[in-house]
Amino acid sequence: MDEPVLYRESFAITGDDFEHGGDAAAAVKLVMKDLGLDPAIVRRLSIANFEAEMNVIMYAREGRMDLLITPNEVRVVVADSGPGIEDIELAMQEGYSTATAEMRARGFGAGMGLPNIKRSTDTFEIESEVGRGTTLRYSVRLERPPNGTR
């Protein structure tokens, strides 16, 4: 974690802003493509970012998606001020969801969000406090070491 951060960019996410749902994930994808990252890495992180962003939109008041690139990995931190998660272990189970019938009818809340983020990434951490908010930290390793030729 002591590696130098080569690139950092932050994107705001607003709770309940379904109209712009997915915009932060799309913006991060454009940055990663522009930097010429391996398409497989871009794809894995895009899946994770979309899930994380929609969680903030569905449950929280506001949040941020931070993209941090180090020589060895692409790191994303999604932090929100929201209701927090009571039972993280339960939330990490596939199929578990607190989504309302309306959210499910729109295709969200299949209980695959968090497990999907974990599956798509190399490291995954979740920190949550009820009434305060939730922070997700996940990363994908860059294949080749930073000795000049990626």
Binding site: L6, A26, D34, G36, P39, R43, I69, L142
Partner: protein
């Protein structure tokens, strides 16, 4: 990529250097330099949006010329299903096909509509047997394939390796006519009669094949007049040789309508297609089996090389199909056994282009991006394209690549001028 293999050509003397084509290009492949449009062959997908956008008729599709027919002892026209939508519903497909042959100097014609239905069955078989990744994407539209190769290389494994009806028809036609006439296959010229520039390009520089089974292609618009003059309303009824389900391929939704597998989605127009591809890249639509995608709105029926407007053409198609209902269908068992015998296989594999050797390190890429934003801050973000690039971001990228200067922007230049006067 050599520009000679692209199908879009600029007509010298007509281009006035406006920016309509460069603004219309979905892959930002066009720049206007010295009052002339220039296409970057590496990013052009031959979609023909520039042909559509040009008000000066300065961009054309490269097609075969009548003299190409003379290179062969016997010539066969294989028309796109869209040709039957171009002359109103009073004429049957057989009459249109007949007029196409007699009026344009072909010796014969070969129908593609039956092959369309066979390919529908073959794709059904493929979908029921293949593994992921999902959804699978149709290879019918050649501009879609190029869009995927250039902009969405990680979607290449989604492309269905079942050959297109037109290429299979050309392959069968050559074999059939060679046997019937007792001629060497090379003496027979097989020509596609195409509604769009992308099809032409797929013949000159095909994807997934060593080479195309066609020897060339003619634009439907170019042959329209002679066909119209040769058409005759006669007492003949519908020709049973034509397959109504295959005719539907002229329009988006036709491909999916002909399939047993209904877990599909049809998307048209380059804007909507990129939106759907972005969604697939984000891991969505994995519950969809099949995606039919065309860069032209409504599919082939709105190709740039057609004459009839797409709404009139759609209506003609629907009336024709209503009349033909009841006729069908290919023997499914036979298609399945042909599928196992590799009849529908492509001769090569569609491969994502080799990733360009990284000329820059991650650190350099980051510096380039930061520099790009620094340049962009100095640009007006009006995306007026007067500089020759389609928008301010592209100009910034071109400046970084050493292909343009910041002062190509008239607003930057004006600011410099005003600063100099003070």
């Amino acid at each position: 990529m050599d520009s000679a293999i692209h199908s879009v050509i600029r007509e010298e003397g007509r281009c006035v250097g406006c920016v309509d084509c460069s603004k219309a290009c979905p892959t930002k492949a066009i720049r206007v330099r010295d009052d002339l449009m220039r296409i970057d062959p590496a990013t052009c997908i031959d979609c023909g949006e520039c042909i559509r956008a040009c008000r000066y008729d300065a961009v054309h599709a490269r097609t075969s010329s009548p003299s190409d027919l003379k290179r062969f002892k016997y010539t066969v026209a294989v028309p796109s299903t869209t040709i039957y939508t171009q002359f109103g519903s009073d004429f049957t497909p057989a009459q249109v096909a007949g007029a196409l042959v007699t009026a344009n100097g072909f010796d014969s014609f070969y129908d593609v509509t039956w092959m369309c239905e066979m390919v529908s069955r073959a794709v059904d078989t493929y979908l029921s047997e293949c593994g992921g990744p999902w959804p699978k994407i149709s290879v019918t539209c050649p501009a879609i394939i190029r869009l995927i190769l250039i902009r969405y290389p990680d979607l290449v494994p989604h492309l269905i390796p079942v050959h297109t009806p037109r290429e299979l028809a050309a392959k069968v036609a050559r074999r059939k006519f060679a046997a019937a006439l007792g001629m060497p296959p090379d003496d027979i010229g097989i020509f596609y009669i195409t509604p769009c520039s992308a099809m032409m390009q797929s013949i000159v520089a095909p994807v997934g094949l060593a080479e195309s089974h066609f020897d060339g292609a003619f634009s439907i618009a170019a042959l329209y007049g002679p066909i119209l003059r040769a058409l005759k309303v006669d007492a003949h009824g519908l020709d049973e040789r034509f397959n109504p389900s295959g005719l539907a391929w002229a329009m988006s939704g036709g491909e999916t309508a002909g399939m047993r597998n209904k877990n599909s989605l049809s998307v048209t127009g380059v804007h909507d297609v990129t939106s759907v591809f972005d969604t697939i890249e984000a891991g969505k639509f994995q519950n969809v089996d099949f995606i039919e995608a065309y860069v032209c709105p409504d599919g082939c029926v709105s190709g740039q090389l057609l004459v009839e407007g797409r709404y009139a053409a759609r209506r003609t198609l629907q009336r024709m199909q209503a009349r033909m209902k009841g006729q069908s269908a290919v023997a499914e068992e036979k298609v399945r056994s042909m599928f196992r015998d590799h009849f529908f296989d492509m001769e090569g594999e569609i491969k994502a282009p080799a990733i360009k050797p990284m000329t820059e390190t991650l650190q350099q890429a980051i510096r380039r991006r930061q520099e790009k934003h620094r340049l962009l801050d100095q640009l007006p973000k009006k995306d007026c394209a007067a500089c020759g690039a389609p928008d301010c971001t592209t100009l910034a990228e071109d400046v970084l690549a050493g292909e343009a200067q910041l002062t190509d922007c008239v607003f930057v230049k004006l600011k410099e001028y005003e600063a100099g006067r003070r």
